[in-house]
Amino acid sequence: MMKIMAQDGTKPSLPSPGADELKDVRNMVALFLTAMKNYALYPADHNITQKFMSNVKAGLEVFLAKYGSLRFDVVKDALLYEGQSVHEDRAAAGLAFSLFKDGITWLEFMEGIALDEIVAFFQVLHTYKEQREEAGGDVVTALWDLSLPHLRYEAADVLWDADGTLDLRSLNRGFVYSREMAVAEDVDAPPFEGMAEKFEETQPCLLTAVEEQALRHMVLAEETKETNEGVLDVLIIILQGQCRQEDFETTLSLLRDEFYIVLAHGELESGLNMLENLRVLMMTSQSATPWIVPMLENFFRDVSSLDGMSGICQLLTGLDTSNQERCVLLRKMLSLLDPVAIGSLAPLLVQVSSPVLEQLLHDAIEMLAGRDLLPLEKIFKSADDPVIEKLVPILGRLPGQRAGQTLQKLIRHSSEMVRRSAVRVFLQGAGREIREVFPLIDDHASVIREMAFRFLGREKNAQAERLLMDYLAKSRSITVDVNSLVLAFDALGRCGGLPCLPFLRRVLLGQGWNWFKGFGKPRYRRGAVVALRRLGMPEAEAILARAAGSIFPVVRSAVKDAEV
């Protein structure tokens, strides 16, 4: 029903709303209630919640287009629309009571209301629907903070209902001023005669243009700042002087939130400073207040956990590596974390493309794993092969038996990629023994075999020589690929000496094809040529010369082919 402005412009007295209008209002209330219920069941960003919010908006749009505004008066257990009850609450946390308990007397939705205003309104209702005596805020304070342009309301002073006002005349009853005392006390300031004139003449308080500008900057900086600068410092100071355990806990929890905020805004220096201070505090509290230590350990574990690390990880992936200073800050920050941080840092190794960054991550993980290997071991069990592959070199640099054992396990890893990396690291390690390495020459992967042969051929070594001869002798009964054979002969030539000469002579000059299976094949002869050349001894040269002049073409051609 539309209300028409009377001809003379005055508003006619309002007729009570018609049945249609009341029905429309009740429908709106029904939409509100469903929305409220869903807000309690699903998270705010859930599809279902959003659907109901859109429903409320659509409903309101139709209603407001028709009637201009929707205004409820709020009483204890009901909402009134132009004096008529349109909703009654049965539940304690009902719509009407949620508003009433905090003093809302009326509430009005206005044309043009946006979806985010509606969402914000329901969020407030949801947050403060329960009545709590000692709360951080209520529906009224929250609506004030939001200052929604299309939602008007009025709130009564319910919090001070019984308090009345101060009686000014009753204050300072017993106060008697004595001029004598004032004189005796020296109030620091003589009577200020001529103040008015001074003000008029010198205008001491006019701001200069520069000051105006500076003032505007101050205010702008205050209004646009995104973190609470200085709060971290103050919290640390509080922690340093804290003696109550529950206070320490509260302070730490606020500190943690602020740390995340600071990181989210890229303020590395404050974040780092905070971590450093806490580490110092942890060390200095060991004796006098040992209960602090586990609390701080917990804190570090928290900020180093998967959830806690999201800010740091973002900083890392977005790091401008040409900015030396920030790289240094981040490096320091990472080194202060708990080793569980490895769980978040390791996966980054395959996400970053900058070598500087990769190095930074490597160093950090190494440092953290050096303090506790367990998180790294966990990663080896759960992470994807590419991540593990990148991590293996760290094991090679870590001291201690446990790291070596882990590396050994990785050498038997199912993924070739991981094995290769592990073997490389393993072979680079100091004091590796021939018998440890030798089995690798049978690996499925040719690269690994190559590495193993190369290792065996590093230097003259009788043990390697013997093992290789055995291997080659046995290889006639198993299938060995050509490449491995060549590598085995090559390694033999490098590590061997006089003892292998008879063997090599036999292979090269032996009775051709049928001498025994396999050795008659040209590749064995060629391999022997390679080995003999590597030996570089006169005895070996003599054998080669004999072969070159052999009456058998297979022998001659082996020498010749091996020259190519």
Binding site: M2, I4, M5, Y67, G68, S69, G112, R132, E134, A135, G136, G137, T141, W144, D145, S147, D157, L159, W160, D163, G164, T165, L168, R169, L171, N172, G174, F175, V176, Y177, S178, M181, A182, V187, D188, F192, E193, M195, A196, F199, Q203, C205, L206, L215, V219, A221, E222, E223, N228, E229, G230, V231, D233, V234, I237, I238, D247, T250, T251, D257
Partner: protein
Amino acid sequence: MADDLQVKDGAIAALSLLQEDFLHVLHRLIQTAKIHDDNSRLLLELAAEFVQILRRIGAYTDEIILQISGQRVFLQSEKVPYLNRNAALLNQVVDLLERLELPGLRFYSRVLEITPAEVLALTRLLLVAEREPFPLLYLADQVPAKFSWVAVIQEEANFAEAGLERRERGLRTYSQAIFSLQDVTQKITARKSVGIRKAVRVAQKMVDLILADEPVLIGMSTIRDYDDYTHTHSVNVAILAMCLGARIHLSPASLEKLGICGLFHDLGKVDIPLEIINKEGRLTAEEFEEIKHHSLNSVRQILRLHAPQGMKARILLPPFEHHLKYDLSGYPRTSRNKPLSLFGRILALADVFDAITSPRKYRPTALSADRAIRLMMEGAGKDFDPILLKVFINMVGPYPVGTLLELRNNQLGLVIKSTGKRVKERLRPAVVLLEADGAGGYRKGAVIDLGERDVGTGDFKHHIKQSMNPAIYGIQPADFIF
């Protein structure tokens, strides 16, 4: 066309939103015209938008009347309520009209010939007027000659709310702040959990009040109660800090936090033994050390409050800083050596001003406001941020509402209005004369304007001999100034 318009219930609401847009565009026009010339696209768009809005307003009403009175904006003779979102805009509109000495403007929304070019011409005229020695006279002369759709209102309207009602509102809010603080202190002492809901509510109410009617709360900040010094002091500091914040155009959300900082800045005093707080005479070095702990203790108490983390984080630093000086001397001495935050600097000013103008149990004397100001001026750049100090003094000085003046004829007058834009006006404020009531107290006498001159001689009729602290006479200014 308007006659057959069916005005719906929501029309009033729609009109009020349009009016807000109108103020917004008007203000932006003037700001933009200062920087850009008439060919600027932005400026032309704004002028076109102005025409649009005026036409849309024309659908509801023939004219739009913009006036200011008592530093508040009135549209169609209705006070525009200060809301969180429009506070800055309203302040700027007030500033603009005050600079032009212009009580108001009347726009005829149904005049058809209004064009963007005309709007620009009016904007330029206003800017020129600002630099004229008598802006109002200039405008009254120029506007009717040039524009058919706008008229100058030359008489200041008197929309002032009944004094008693304003006082009631101010005192109610002040009292609620005191009660809320008392409540907090009691619960802290009883080691109960303490929520900040009431303090937030009260801070928000104070923001609303300051934005709508600053003088009434500044007047309230003269309340002194040495039996409950810490609470009245804290509320006064909150008020002074918020008023200073409003002067420099902090957002309402920031003012709210600043107010809460003010309310809680001395919360740590609950840990100081009463014997020390109320001790008569000088404190020993140890006792003073004890006092010095209270800023950090305030932070500890705030940490214990039941409040959202985000709120706590926002209100911790200023109480920590409130006894640190601009040059970083003061206390507490810690490893932190960074410049004070804006809120910290504001709080320090408000704190010192209220402290040295309040009589205390151990020192039943106090400086009058102007003496306090002079003392504080000596600390510019050393104790206080020199820029903020200037703004602060402009706000409270030289004779803030509530100052007791002794006149040359030995009469006592209490400053009741000191709101002029110009120092000159504030040097000769309006006072209410105080007459002895025969029972050791005083009652309200006549209100006189110290700026009033003798018609014959042209000399001032009244002269100030000196200022006094009202507490010395046992006077609560808030009792008399409304």
